[in-house]
């Protein structure tokens, strides 16, 4: 298995996203920014989470990194540097070689992300053959090995079956196996457990965690589930309405959320030590109640800490003490510890 891999300096980030912006709308017409001013780095082996509600732009960010957004009606700007190469400007062939071998992606819905008329085995072997240049039988053997590693019993038989013969949890395991088949340096997981029921979610996350650890891959986890973040990720970026509103490492974010939105997310998840019968505190309103960032903070209409300033101008993303925040009136240390669970 010989693969030319560009050398990386240990201090250089694996993936560096700079001012990524994705606008939907045909050229010359009014467009809508689904992702705006998004920047983050992922170091080799790091596990980064992008957290946000539906419509916050987290999945679009992942698709933009993979270069999988349609070319018509979508304008992508900024830089997506993978080991120094800008993925947004590199040619299609190079991008296609990179995908699956260096950067892989696990999609949200295991029911639709596998081809229904092709056997599991061929779908696993396909990506192995594409990138590792091995024979059909070697690819098949590697497939059996991979399925065994993601906890699929009787993998040899499963290889000959079709996707509809497997349950949702099994299919998501297959997708993880396919994603990690060529030992990519970076795995992007776009809500890999959302389509599964709760008991299966835990098992699948466990599989993902072990395999990512085994292969030393960096992980970009796209999720709305802070429980997933707590179990899997070192670093968190919270997105709201297309922009990053808070950025911190996991422990500090959970212990001391600064942005009112992050605080709201944390208060809306159940905890083991909360008193019986206590109601969860949801964030009022819905993500559709927003104002354009040009006119102020997009979260202001739903924010309890809102002041006049918040609807006058957009708060900038300010760095301090190794974390970043986009808010004029952050939760203060005491308040955030008291308010946060």
């Amino acid at each position: 298995m010989s693969r030319a891999r560009t050398a990386t300096r240990p201090d250089e980030p694996l993936l560096s996203v700079r001012d990524l912006s994705v606008r939907f709308g045909l050229r010359g017409q009014e467009s809508f920014a689904a992702v705006d001013e998004v920047s983050f780095d992922i170091n080799p082996g790091q596990h980064l989470a992008i957290v946000g509600e539906s419509g916050s732009g987290k999945s679009v960010t992942a698709l933009a990194v993979m270069g999988l957004l349609p070319s018509r009606g979508v304008q992508v700007s900024g830089e997506v540097l993978y080991r120094g190469t800008d993925l947004l400007t590199c040619d299609r062939r190079a991008m296609s070689r990179l995908r699956g071998s260096e950067i892989a992606m696990v999609f949200q819905d295991p029911m639709t992300s596998l081809n229904p008329v092709v056997t599991i085995g061929r779908q696993v072997a396909e990506v192995v053959q594409r990138h590792l240049k091995v024979s059909r039988s070697e690819a098949f053997e590697r497939g059996v090995d991979l399925l065994t590693r993601v906890g699929i019993p009787d993998a040899g038989r499963r290889m000959k079956e079709y996707p509809h013969q497997l349950s949702g949890g099994m299919r998501q395991r297959v997708l993880i196996a396919i994603g990690l088949a060529c030992e990519p340096k970076l795995l992007i997981a776009d809500e890999p457990t959302t389509a599964l029921d709760v008991t299966i979610q835990a098992q699948v996350l466990e599989v993902l965690k072990e395999l990512v650890a085994d292969t030393d891959a960096a992980l970009l986890m796209i999720t709305h589930d802070l429980g997933v973040v707590a179990g899997l990720c070192d670093d968190v970026r919270v997105m709201y309405s297309g922009r990053i509103v808070e950025s911190a490492d996991r422990d500090r974010l959970f212990a001391e959320p600064r942005h009112p939105y992050t605080g709201g997310l944390l208060r809306s998840i159940p905890r083991l030590d909360s008193p019986r019968g206590q109601r969860l505190t949801p964030i009022p309103g819905s993500p559709t109640q927003t104002i354009p960032w040009e006119q102020g903070c997009a979260f202001a209409p739903r924010c309890a800490h809102r002041a006049d300033q918040c609807t006058d101008s957009a708060p900038p993303l300010e760095q301090s003490e190794g974390r970043a925040l986009r808010c004029f009136h952050p939760l203060t240390g005491a308040a955030s510890q008291q308010e946060a669970p």
Partner: protein, 315 residues
């Protein structure tokens, strides 16, 4: 298997559903659904009977088609009806009517199958070129698709029978011309259908997933998009067999069909029956019924097949 690692992450959630034994492809699952559908069974029985009759025609009758052996028995006002020698009586030209009908099945089968095969082959090829070009994308892809589809649009704008008539008129009266004419009229149907389902499949999640794995576009089109798109085309081919058989009869009826009187053909039997309809209505009714029942058989089977392959009607 090289040194299996311990399975990660808890006990496996179990999976085999009642309907499916291991290794059951979508097509085989559709087959088992077909066997439980009465419509499919009726259709299949009719089709099978038609095919068997066509294949073993010489064993069913001692006579040759188109032999005017008993033409002396036919008078302008009467055509001999059923007798011991002739199960269904004679036709207008003095040949055995049963023999004509049985050998007519042969003609219809060959013409129908070959014409549909021609339509399917060229139509599917155009559909793959067009749908594939779009999926592979870029400016050339859109351009190729546009050219192919405009040609197809032009073909589609001519009524299929009229197109067949024109082609048959240009190519002259022989059996190949008829097959080509009817096949050509089907080309646009298959091309559009296959392109349409390829475009629909091209937007599905597994195509995006395959792209995310760096699989080449051509490979995605041929081994992922195409196999998922051929279902409706196969159904259409079955339904088109019915249309083709009717169109063969129609061309013959219009005098553009098989010219050789020694070859029995249902459409021409209808023409010949016209001026004796009052004296011997069976001369028109029997071949008419043969055409209708055969077409019905293919249509029923095709509809059942469509239902069996349609994901919405599944389980």
């Amino acid at each position: 298997m090289s040194a299996p690692l311990p399975p990660a992450g808890g006990s496996p959630d179990v999976l085999v559903t009642a309907d499916d034994a291991p290794g059951v492809s979508l097509w085989r699952a559709a087959g088992s659904r077909l066997r439980r559908n009465p419509t499919a069974i009726v259709g299949a029985v009719i089709v099978l009977a038609f095919v068997v009759v066509a294949l073993v025609a010489p064993l069913l009758t001692p006579y040759q088609p188109g032999s005017a052996e008993w033409s002396g028995d036919v008078t302008p006002t009467s055509v001999p009806g059923p007798s011991d020698d002739h199960l269904l009586g004679l036709d207008r030209f003095g040949s055995d009517l049963f023999t004509q009908l049985v050998y007519g099945a042969r003609q219809s089968l060959v013409y129908g199958v070959v014409a549909t095969a021609i339509g399917l082959a060229f139509g599917a090829a155009l559909g793959i070129v067009s749908g594939g070009a779009i999926a592979v994308g870029g400016r050339p892809g859109v351009w190729i698709d546009n050219v192919v589809m405009r040609v197809v649009d032009i073909m589609l704008s001519v009524p299929s029978l009229l197109l067949a008539v024109s082609i048959a008129a240009v190519l002259g009266q022989n059996s190949y011309a008829i097959m080509i004419a009817i096949g050509a009229a089907q080309v646009p149907i298959f091309a559009r259908l296959l392109r349409g389902s390829m475009l629909a499949q091209g937007r599905s999640d597994y195509v995006l997933a395959a792209e995310a794995l760096g699989i080449r576009k051509r490979k995605i089109v041929m081994s992922h998009v195409l196999p998922n798109s051929i279902g409706p085309t196969v159904v259409q081919a079955t339904l088109n067999l019915a249309t083709a058989i009717i169109e063969v009869a129609a061309l013959s009826f219009l005098g553009l069909g098989q010219p050789d009187p020694a070859v029995a053909e249902w459409g021409r039997m209808l023409v010949a029956a016209q001026d004796r309809f009052e004296a011997a209505p069976q001369l028109a009714l029997l071949p008419g019924a043969a055409i209708a029942i055969t077409a019905l058989g293919f249509t029923l089977f095709g509809e059942a097949l469509r239902e069996a392959l349609d994901p919405r009607s599944r389980r």
